[in-house]
Amino acid sequence: MSTVVSVDLLVLAPALAPVLGVVLLLVGDALAPGRAGGRWALPVAACVLVGGAVAAVRAALVAAEDPARTLCLPAPGDACLWSAGPRASALQAGVLLAAAAALALVHEAAALRRDTAVTATLLLAATTGGVAVAAARDLGGWLVALELATVPVVALVALRGTRPATHGALGLLVTSLASFALLVLGAGLWLTATGEPTFSSAAAAGAWEDPQRRAVLALAVALLVAGLGFKLSLVPFHAWTPQVYPRADLGTTAFLAGASKLSATAALLVLVSALAGVVDGPGPALVLGLPAALSLLLGTVLALRQEDPARLLAWSTVAQAGWVLLPLTALSEDGLRAAAAYVLTYATATLVAFAAVSRAGARSLEQTRGLLRRDPLAGGALALALLVLAGLPPGVVGLVVKILAVSAPVAAGVWPMVAVAVVAVVLGIAVYLRWLVVLPGPRREGDARAGGEPPRGWASATVLVVGTALLAVASVLPHLLLTAVG
């Protein structure tokens, strides 16, 4: 064999698809600049993303037994830089579909902007990073993929050009630089502690046995979690979220709330799966549990007081990030599965909510009054999404993932987290019911929104229909969701 590294293109397809999309867009834009206002770019990008998602789903089905590996180094190291089990593949499919949904929302608002090809390129680039990080097993690839998933989004927020958007982008940039610094430091300490540039359980176990290296490993984990905390919007690293969400355009916000959170969770799962079953004691649980508890409480309490839907969803993201982290405090295989199932459910419901908000053109909760009658598709989808986020039937899938998320710490006996979760469930229900209650309402005459009817394109309708269908199917057969995440 002449090759140093084996490459399986089919396994890499989920990450290659958005790269292909970037190439297509750039070439197309170079050949025919500004053709049709660049609107052709979005459908092309969306098709590529859906193709990538199909490849990821195929990988998840094929890889039920063994993870699909590629980019393997020759023996004796035999390490693979890309290893995607069913869970990673499911998260990849989630990232790709969430990015496609965000593109659809950009498309909806694209009438006002000229730089759609640029937007689509940036989104695809960020998606590539988000997909790659789920399968990355080496520190270098993991860090690069994570940054690739973040940096283009800063440009996306800034692209809007308004003053608040620039402020938001600046905040996001500072945040992501700080988080990158923490991640690099954490990765360095991980390398020092374990002596290996990969996230492997064996190496972590070796380091945990040795009391001196254990301290370094604990510090490494703390820094890596803090770095990821910025991307996941965990308290106390959340401050950018409620600033950026209302200031960026809805498509970008939807990308931040959906695809970004999925890829950050995928990155976190890579880290925690190396620790699960290996480390024990209160230290690691505290490192994960403290931000989880703070996010759950602060996010929910502040979401209770918001009037702007984007702001409410921003604080709700903070709280839901706490829910994603909650099962991981058990440091068990069940916890990993619960976190993956939770984040997929959360992302679907949140994207549906953003699509509905975009369709309604609402800038305050009051403007969604009567949405169920005015626009039954958006209103009904939003109602189901809110119920899923609250964890109440008929949004059964929301309840099931909450049960899963609580059952992991109960099994591991992490009681403080369980107590926090109980409080967060109740407060969370209050948050989403407060919005749900205005949705039926009477149709008010003379309530013509300034600026005419918002665009009612097929793009947001597709997001609503697909998202609602996914939530409904998962509510009836939650087993499908759990099979998907291993």
Binding site: R337, G380, L387, L392, P393, P394, V396, L399, V400, I403, L404, V406, S407, V410, A411, V418, A421, V422, V425, V426, I429, A430, L433, V437, P440, P478, H479, L482
Partner: protein, 493 residues
């Protein structure tokens, strides 16, 4: 198969009515809802006759099975729920509350019924919890949208309080169930009852029992956790109050029998004295409030707190007689509360308010049928022999007087005495209401006629009053059904 249909029929009809069929006019929606309720009632009988059950994997990752079946303990409650479902859908001909589409209202009623039926037939602890949660949102809509029109703020407050209290209870219940499932390795309620908590150490048993009892006590409600009940019952439309009192509260007591009592009897035994005292205090407290309460609907709500106090006291006693008494008193209260709420709802519709401080002509003269129903309801409420409540509450007092061997007898005897005082209070407030409303204190000369119950309302009242009398004369109808199943519960003496 039949049991699946039993759940699928009201669920499908209810979902259709609240979504696609929202705009269905009342003349179509009402027969549709009533027909679904009738079909559900027929299916409920069929389930009991055929012993139908369904059991397949639903969520193997959690060990959760899609498992529904009825046994002797759930049979009376299943029939009660199906019957109340018929009553509330029929009542839509009497009163269709404003606030939203009539079809949506009827759909919510059917969805609540679905949740209750699923709760009473669930054979899996986690599934029980999921079913328990199904009733929350439709009930929230019923109270919050279709409730009392006078004060929107009070309506929102009552609905929110109902949801948040219940959610706090069910989250606690969830933790208890998960701890139980993790400790025993099964979520099947039959296996859990057979094991009777033997796999758990005493500390773990107590922890599980505490979580389960705390969670369910909100729903029952047991005294310090009852503050959601009066506003919710008072604000809800008539059919909503009927469902709340006759069906939803029963889910709490049924849960107490199925979960802590059957699965962790020793842990439950250690909590029983506290529960008994809380129940007895609830009886007295409810009675005292009823003596001074001005709003008749709120008065009936507080009387529910008192009646549920008897049920809790009987459950805490830990004897077979106690559990039998609790299950009987449960069904009896369901019928009596439904009768009184239908009646009070009718009075409210006629009078605009049911403030007892307003002097009104005697009901027995203006509307003799309503008057008779009121007397039957009040007599049942005070525990008159020959009416439904009598046997349940008498047996509850007896079982508290002679509790299971491992219960501290002194505490239980004191609780029994306290509850007996409460029963006397019930007589006092029943007579107060009878004096103010039935006998009246204003000459009837100016009272119009023709306001008596006619048509559907009359038949609803006749049916409920008849059921109250039948159960009072023949309590064995319920007791014989529950006897075998109760004898099979582990940990009872």
């Amino acid at each position: 198969m039949v049991v699946s249909l039993l759940l699928a029929l009201p669920a499908a009809a209810g979902l259709w009515l609240v979504t696609a069929g929202r705009a269905t006019p009342p003349r179509l929606a009402r027969p549709l809802a009533a027909a679904s309720a009738l079909g559900t009632a027929v299916l409920a009988v069929l389930v009991l006759v055929t012993g139908s059950q369904v059991d397949r994997a639903w969520l193997p990752e959690l060990g959760l099975r899609w498992s529904f079946a009825a046994d002797g303990i759930s049979a009376p409650l299943l029939l009660l729920t199906a019957g109340i479902g018929l009553v509330v859908t029929a009542h839509a001909w009497v009163e269709l509350p404003p606030g939203g589409s009539p079809a949506g209202y009827l759909g919510c009623l059917l969805l609540v019924e679905t949740g209750a039926l699923a709760t009473f037939t669930a054979r899996d602890a986690v599934l029980f919890l999921v079913a328990f949660e199904v009733v929350l949102v439709p009930m929230w809509v019923l109270v919050g949208r279709y409730g009392d029109r006078r004060d929107p703020r009070a309506r929102a407050d009552a609905a929110g309080r109902f949801v948040l209290y219940t959610a706090a209870g069910s989250s606690t219940l969830l933790v208890g169930i998960l701890l139980l499932v993790v400790s025993t390795g099964t979520a099947d309620l039959r296996e859990l009852a057979d094991g009777a908590g033997a796999a758990l150490g005493p500390g773990r048993q107590l922890a599980v029992a505490l979580l389960l009892v705390l969670g369910l006590a909100v729903k029952v409600p047991v005294l310090p956790l009852h503050t959601w009940l009066p506003p919710a019952h008072t604000t809800a439309p008539t059919a909503g109050s009927v469902l709340l009192a006759a069906v939803l509260l029963k889910m709490g007591t049924y849960g107490l029998v199925r979960l802590p009592l059957a699965t962790v009897p020793d842990g439950f035994g250690r909590l029983a004295p506290v529960l008994a005292v809380a129940g007895a205090v609830g009886v007295v407290w409810g009675g005292l409030v009823c003596l001074v309460e001005r709003d008749l609907k709120r008065l009936v709500a507080y009387s529910s707190v008192a009646h549920m106090g008897f049920v809790v006291l009987a459950l805490a006693s830990g004897s077979e007689t106690g559990v039998q008494a609790a299950l009987l008193a449960n069904v009896a209260h369901g019928l009596v509360a439904a009768l009184l709420f239908v009646l009070v709802g009718g009075l409210k519709q006629r009078w605009g308010s049911v403030d007892l401080a307003v002097r009104r002509p005697a009901l027995r003269e203006t509307s003799p049928r309503l008057g008779l129903a009121l007397v039957v309801g009040l007599a049942a409420s005070l525990g008159l022999p020959g009416l439904a409540t009598f046997w349940g509450e008498l047996l509850a007092l007896y079982s508290a007087w002679a509790p299971a061997g491992d219960r501290p007898r002194g505490v239980f005897v004191a609780a029994a005495v306290l509850a007996a005082v409460g029963a006397a209070l019930a007589a006092a407030y029943a007579l107060r209401v009878a004096g103010l409303v039935w006998a009246g204190d204003r000459p009837a000369a100016d009272a119009g006629t023709g306001t008596d119950a006619v048509g559907v309302e009359r038949w609803v009242l006749v049916t409920l009053a008849g059921a109250v009398v039948v159960l009072g004369v023949a309590p064995m109808l319920v007791l014989s059904s529950t006897a075998d199943a109760v004898a099979g519960l582990g940990g009872l003496r």
